[in-house]
């Protein structure tokens, strides 16, 4: 069958300009793949019609798994037969997105043989996404990938592929071993990842510090964020070097400290550590002079999600400080316990953050056997409407 050639005057305009072009990438893949060639055609059509030409996913997947593949079909299959099926395979990425050439080339070999040759590095949740193949190719792809040590990521009402920041691999601020925690959790909960059995999706993201490069507080049902106890370590000689190099320490550090706990007398910095909220501003701006305190652990937060259905939520604190050392049994127990409650009470398509809003923090905390503490809220309630149990009345 000779390859159809599509005129793509609209897409061609997206090959201009300094930023690397995804259209150029589709064209490169189209040289070898009918699917990518027809993708050019259908995408130009979407740009013309100003609407998507993809339908809802059907249920497709690999034997024994309930997720990891997103079914996708076009609504104009006769016109663009090469991408009539255009399923996505989510491959579980490595912790911290580190790879070797050999590992990536291996994946490319498999994908060139069985798929469109197009990928996302990476999808929003973190997976290495292989974009566009047909139903018949799924089992061979899985055999080829899994025999080379790769597994699929999550989809549907399951634990989604956990992801983490670069962490201790290349960041001096990482208070926890984000890569190891991420890897351990992914391995510990393989069943929950591959076989959807939850009310809805559950995302876990691990950030080494409050800078939160993985957006855990905005985007994960369970957010693990590294923090510390004890005094910020100060190297006054380096403080002097920053001043000498032109930093306005009063304006950039002292005045921008949200708790007003830093002072500077023109020579040395003083920090009132008891009043520091560990926000990371001063440390991030004076990387050579200031370092976090020495007792390290994580703040555990739950409940973030995008707007559907009750509006976007950010994760909120449930455990202010938890030491996290291998094999992280304390963390795994906490997660399992939270899932029990959500499983028991969650409605279909209800995220854990929404369930906490619906049934109240009290019930959640009691199930989790966590005592209420002020660190869990910005402020106490304003209304006078609250519950008492019989026990509390005694």
């Amino acid at each position: 069958m000779s390859k159809k050639t599509y005129a793509t005057p609209l897409l061609d305009q997206l090959e201009k300009g300094p930023f690397p072009s995804f259209v150029t990438e589709i064209k490169r893949a189209a040289k070898r793949s009918d699917a990518s060639n027809d993708l050019l055609g259908i995408l130009e059509r979407c740009y013309n019609d100003k609407k998507t030409h993809w339908k809802h996913g059907g249920i497709v997947g690999v034997r024994g798994y309930g997720g990891g593949v997103i079914g996708r079909y076009s609504d104009v299959p006769e016109e663009y037969p090469g991408c009539a099926h255009f399923h996505t395979v989510r491959v579980n990425q490595t912790s911290g997105f580190f790879y070797t050439s050999k590992a990536l080339n291996d994946i490319c070999d498999v994908w060139d043989k069985y798929g469109s040759g197009l990928t996302n590095l990476h999808g929003s949740t973190g997976d290495l996404v292989l974009l566009g193949t047909n139903t018949d190719a799924l089992e061979p792809i899985f055999a080829e990938l899994s025999s080379r040590g790769w597994d699929l990521g999550g989809s549907g009402s399951a634990m989604r592929t956990p992801s983490c920041c670069v962490g201790p691999a290349r960041c001096e601020w990482s208070m926890i071993d984000t890569l190891d925690i991420n890897h351990e959790l992914t391995q510990a909960f393989q069943d929950e990842l591959h076989r959807p059995a939850f009310p809805y999706k559950f995302k876990i993201k691990t950030a080494g510090c409050g800078v939160d490069c993985i957006a855990s507080v905005a985007r994960a049902d369970l957010s693990l964020v590294g923090t510390w106890k004890g005094d910020i370590q100060i190297d006054q000689a380096e403080v002097a070097n920053y001043a000498k190099a032109g930093m306005n320490i009063q304006a950039e550090i002292v005045d921008m400290c949200p708790t007003g706990c830093i002072s500077y007398d023109g020579k040395a910095i003083k920090i009132d550590n008891a009043n520091c909220s560990r926000c990371m501003h001063c440390i991030a701006k004076m990387t050579k002079a200031l370092r976090p305190g020495k007792e390290r652990g994580a703040t555990i937060l739950v409940g973030a999600k995008a707007p559907f259905v009750i509006g976007a939520l950010m994760s909120h604190v449930i455990v202010p400080f938890m030491p996290l050392e291998p094999p992280y049994d304390n963390l795994k127990d906490l997660i399992t316990k939270m899932w029990e409650w959500w499983d028991e009470h969650g409605k279909n398509r209800e995220r854990i953050g929404e369930l906490i809003v619906r049934r109240g923090m009290r019930e959640f905390l009691e199930h989790m056997e966590l005592d209420p503490i002020p660190q869990m809220v910005f402020e106490p309630r304003r209304d006078p409407f609250y519950f008492w149990t019989e026990d509390e009345l005694k």
């Binding site: 100003k50 809802h56 990536l104 899994s146 201790p168 890569l179 507080v217 905005a218 050579k288």
Partner: protein, 359 residues
Amino acid sequence: MSDALPERQTDIGPPDYKQFLPPVVAKNYGKWKYHERISNAMMVHVGESGDKCYTVRAASPRLISTDFIRDLTKMADKHCGGFLRFTTRNNVEFLVDDENKAKALEKDLRDAGYMLGGIGDTISNVVHTQGWVHCHSAATDASGLVKVLMDEFADYFTGKKGLPARVRLAVACCTNMCGAVHCSDIAVVGIHRKPPRINDEEVKKACEVPSTIASCPTGAISPNPAAKSVKIKEDKCMYCGNCYSVCPALPISDPENDGVAVVVGGKIGSLRSNPKFSKLVIPFLKNNPPRWPEVTAAFRNILTVYEQGARKHERLGEWVDRIGWEKFFALTKIPFTHQHIDDFTIARETFRASVAFKW
């Protein structure tokens, strides 16, 4: 690759990350002392050991071919012992342990046409979704918007222009928001403006009525027992499209009325101020592919006013918190409309209960 399939394995999880760490990373793992930004394209991390790890960062469009990946791996083979990594914002990073190696690497990357940058107070790469390339619920394209925005702001990525603080951009092609639009400095989200159309025959065949009703945040959907379908109270519908995700027989896509909204002022880190949600500033811009000039102009306007007004290290949302939203709308000359005042779940929280405000 032979034609006989190898034996499949299940539940093995991802490969151990340790085998993918470059030697300088493995050796200094958890023992880094500090880092310094050398340019938008390069930074150096220094270990307690005195070892140095130079990182050179290049832009990627995220939607990439295997050819693109093989080009990257060739570069990694030549300069980095075959190691490379990606960032949470879809950039590529090459790591080496020596300044001269880093310079040679940077030169090679530039010669090969890579766009280098994104380190420090920059506009880095855009977190985004699938759009018309792959998604059934997309109200706009994502990759196209990312491309035109990053073309527009390339100088802020590469370092020709600086900023008071980093400005995080995001694109989501519908309100499902698979991207981080709800907590970004400036972001765009695809929206619909008319209720879904009900195909009763298809609802009967393809949809579960109770879950369809439950998917509606405003209670606009009710059963239609006569047709074994649903009814939609159109004046309650906010066009979010969640019902379409649950029930394919309620198509909502509408080329005439779909478009994008612009939201600003979100952040994720806890530095200086708490994480913030993005807020609506432009309720609608039409879909104008392939280059969405109205969107890039709107972003440019907001960025320019921010650059002029913000203090050093102040994120966009922090700057607006300081000057007030009434001032933001005055400075940007963006019209304020009914759509800006919340009438969803947190409306009352957003009404100004104070007589202290600016003219």
